[in-house]
C-alpha cells in the first residue's frame, strides 16, 4: 500500500516534515515559512543535557515544538502519540497507513539503514514521514534525502525505539484537520514574537542571546578547564549541532533569514528584508566560528584560530542577534498599533 505523498527535499527534518505534511493536505508553505511560523529559531547551551556524553547546544526550539507551534497558529489539528510497546506502535502506524494517512515519526537516525556511515551518529530527534508499506518494507519520505527511502520493519522499530538521551519512544503524529483557507499574516507575526521573546527575555544565563554570551565564556575556558582533547570533543559536538542535523546552515540562522525574506513579501514589510540581510550576516558569523572550531578539533588551527577568537565571534553573534530581535519586536509592536 502506498499513499500518494509528495516528497520534497528540505534542509531540516522537522520543518521539512511539517511543510510536506501540510502540502499533502493542500497547504503549500515553504520549509522556511514552516520554521518561522513554528518559531523554530532558538539558542540554548544546556550542559546538564548530554548527547554522546557531551553537553547539548541547541539552535532550535524543543523537539516537536516547530510542528506544534505551526499547527496551533494555523488552526491545524494534529494527533500525537507516544508508545511503550513497539508492537503497539507499529500496529498504530499500520492502521494509519491503511486509512490513507501519512504518518510523521520521530526516530533515532543512527538506526536508519539508508543514512551514509559518514553522517551516522546517535541522534534521537530525527523526523520522517512514513507513506506506505510494501511487504516488510516501509516507504519513507525522509526530507533530508533527495529521494524517498525504504526501511525494513526491524530497522524502523529499532529507530523508533532508539535508546539514550531524548529517546523517541515510538512517537508518531498525523494531521486530522486542516482549515480550507489559511491566512499566514497573523501566524507570521506571532511566530516572530515568540522567537524574539525567547531570545531576549527568558531569564537565566544559558538561553537566548545571554546564552550565546555565556557559551563564548565557556569556549574561551574549555582548553584550560578540560584539556586539549576534551575541549576538541566539546567543540566538535558544537560544530555538528550548528552545521549539521539539517540546521539549514549556521544553526538555522540562514533558514530564518529566508523566512524573514518571504515574510517581507507576504506582510508587505520592507523592514523585514533588511532584517533578513542582517540575519544572514549573523549566520555568516556563526559559520566563521564553526570553521575555526572545525580546524581546532581537527588539529589544523593556525595561530589566529584561538579559543579567544572563537569567543569574540560568539560575542559578535550575540550583539548582532540582540539588535535583530529588538528590531523585529518593534515591527510586531507597530503592527499591534496598526501602523
Amino acid at each position: 500500500m502506498q499513499i500518494d505523498f509528495k516528497h520534497r527535499l528540505s534542509a531540516h527534518c522537522e520543518s521539512g516534515v511539517s511543510s510536506n505534511l501540510l502540502f499533502h493536505y493542500g497547504v503549500d508553505i515553504s520549509e522556511a515559512m514552516a520554521f518561522g511560523i513554528g518559531a523554530g529559531l532558538f539558542f540554548g547551551y544546556l550542559p546538564f543535557i548530554r548527547i554522546n556524553q557531551l553537553p547539548l547546544t541547541t539552535f532550535r526550539c524543543e523537539v516537536g515544538g516547530i510542528l506544534k507551534g505551526l499547527t496551533r497558529k494555523l488552526g491545524v489539528k494534529m494527533h500525537f502519540e507516544k508508545f511503550r510497546n513497539p508492537q503497539k506502535a507499529m500496529a498504530a502506524l499500520d492502521r494509519s497507513l491503511e486509512s490513507g494517512t501519512p504518518v510523521g515519526c520521530r526516530t533515532g537516525a543512527y538506526w536508519l539503514p539508508y543514512f551514509p556511515s559518514a553522517y551516522r551518529f546517535h541522534f534521537n530527534m530525527h523526523n520522517l514521514v512514513v507513506y506506505g508499506k510494501e511487504g516488510d518494507d516501509y516507504l519513507i519520505s525522509d526530507p533530508v534525502f533527495p529521494e524517498t527511502q525504504r526501511c525494513s520493519q526491524e530497522d524502523l522499530v529499532k529507530s523508533r525505539f532508539a535508546q539514550g538521551a531524548l529517546a523517541p519512544k515510538g512517537t508518531m503524529y498525523y494531521l486530522t484537520h486542516v482549515p480550507k483557507d489559511i491566512d499566514l499574516r497573523e501566524p507570521i507575526y506571532k511566530g516572530i514574537q515568540t522567537v524574539c521573546r525567547r531570545m531576549l527575555k527568558i531569564p537565566g544565563p544559558i538561553i537566548g542571546v545571554r546564552g550565546i554570551r555565556f557559551l563564548a565564556g565557556q569556549v574561551e575556558k574549555w582548553p584550560r578547564k578540560l584539556g586539549k582533547r576534551k575541549a576538541s570533543l566539546y567543540l566538535g559536538q558544537l560544530v555538528r549541532m550548528q552545521e549539521e542535523l539539517g540546521t539549514g546552515g549556521a544553526g538555522f540562522r540562514f533558514m530564518y533569514a529566508a523566512f524573514l525574506q518571504e515574510a517581507a513579501g507576504i506582510l508587505n514589510q520592507n523592514r523585514l528584508l533588511d532584517l533578513s540581510a542582517k540575519m544572514t550576516q549573523a549566520g555568516d558569523l556563526w559559520r566563521s566560528f564553526a570553521v575555526i572550531g572545525a580546524r581546532t578539533c581537527k588539529d589544523r588551527a593556525t595561530e589566529s584560530d584561538s579559543s579567544g577568537a572563537m569567543a569574540d565571534i560568539l560575542r559578535d553573534c550575540a550583539r548582532k542577534e540582540s539588535e535583530i530581535y529588538q528590531e523585529l519586536l518593534a515591527v510586531v509592536k507597530m503592527r499591534r498599533h496598526g501602523q
Binding site: 556511515s117 533527495p146 552545521e243 549539521e244 546552515g249 540562514f254 572545525a294 581537527k298 589544523r300
Partner: protein
Amino acid sequence: MDNKEKLKRILIETLNLDGVTPEQIKNDDPLFGDKFGLDSIDAVEIVFQVEQHFGVKIRDMKEGRPALQSINTLTAFIEARR
C-alpha cells in the same frame, strides 16, 4: 589548472591530507569515509574553502550533501553556481 585539479590541491593543503597527492584522488572517489579519513566536521572547512576560492556559497546540507559527494559533484556544483 582546471577546477578539479585546483580543488584537489586545496583539499590536500587545507585538510592536511598528508601523503596524498592530487593524482591519488580520483574524480569520483567519495570525499567522506575511509579513503581520506574525512568526516562531517571536515565538510565545514570544505564549504569555507569553496566560498573563499570559488566565490560559491553552500548554505546548507540540503544543497551541500549532493555537492560534497566527490570532486566531480563538487566541481559541477561550483561551475553551475558561478
